[in-house]
Amino acid sequence: MRPVAVIGAGKTAFGVFPDRDLRSLAVEAGQRCLQNGRVAPAQVESFYLGNFAGPAFVGQNHLAPYVSTALGILGVPATRIEAACASSGSAFFHAWTEVAAGVYDIVMVVGVEKMTSQPTARVSEILAEAGDCAGEMKAGSTFASLFAMIARRHMHDFGTTREHLASVAVKNHANGALNPDAHMRKIITLEQALKGKPIADPLTLYDCSLVSDGAAAVILAPLERAAEFTDQPVRILGIAQASDYVALDRKESITTFPAVRMAGEKAYRMAGVTAGDIQFAELHDCFTIAEIIAMEDLGFVARGCGGPYVFEGHTALSGERPVNTSGGLKAKGHPVGATGVAQICDLVLQIRGEAGARQIPRHSLGLAENLGGSGATCVVSILGAA
């Protein structure tokens, strides 16, 4: 396999954009990315689109060529990947396999979701299709309720508290306030987070990520060609995708995600690093408990110790290992199909030293973890300065 680099990255702001459609968001991110990587549309040899539910959210299918042609990318393979909230992480993984295997040199990945044109109850229903519709969802579950049950069990098994969960939200809101592209740029206090409107016990509104519109894009190339396009290539040192049962009630334990552990272990091995080497991370905080469990499954802390670790400030911008410097899904926003690639864009910003007010001092080795559903898909990517 050949070493692969990210040579260009670009995003839209995340938020509620009533005047924007799916394609215009994807095209904006794609054009910024092409400019950033100094790549012409005609140079792109293969195109991937990560998108979860365009057909349900906006009534449009066949989305990969729908977007690629609007970017002026004609004739090449254009492929949509769906893996719930890990759709564009998976698209990124598959783009990497093509470049690493030498099938193509210049491969573009766009992630997009346009969610806010539907009312909240309908959004919940569409998201629920990422779970087991004939089982857990038929019983009246929502994704919030699945993660609420995960949180409840984590509290029972390890003594994790409401304050631990809330401290994830407080941290990510503080980081999001420094991110000009974040959906929610508002600092919150621990008290506010604890007193939020109940969604599914023990989770309040502040434990839940946002329903957002947005898009993100990256372009990959063999490392040996990266200098043709950029002075600041970012190397993909390790990457892996893993899978598990879709239904939460099929898992032996719901306080750990085997797909995260497997993807993490493979990515560490490929990169030749250990969890202790990772300086910062973008973790999939679809709900606050998910960030806590991700830190445990990726070996940042021992199992059950994620709550106190975040509560004590170790993952804050000024901490020993900052997590979600972008604001995470909680504050940056969570346009589902865009999230995986957006995490990569955020690693690239930090590694290049372009993260502005939220730039951290140790930023040469970062990890992104993109989770689909209640853990049925996970993609872990480890990026570093080339």
Binding site: A121, S124, A139, G140, T142, R152, H156, A200, L248
Partner: protein, 56 residues
């Protein structure tokens, strides 16, 4: 009728559209005595929730 123990539970205040009139309602994952687990919903509004909460 199948017997089991509550593995974890929650009370849902923000329901999907199909269950809009039922909220708040409780769902749980139950470990069945016969083996395996099942996600279930307490249908009756206002009925007592599993009194002992989570019990391993």
């Amino acid at each position: 009728m199948r017997a089991g123990t509550v593995y974890t539970e929650t009370v849902i205040y923000s329901p999907p559209a199909a269950f809009a009139n039922d909220a708040p309602y409780q769902t749980a994952i139950v470990s069945l005595e016969e083996g395996g687990r099942l996600t279930v919903r307490r249908a009756a509004r206002g009925s007592a929730i599993f009194p002992e909460g989570v019990k391993a």
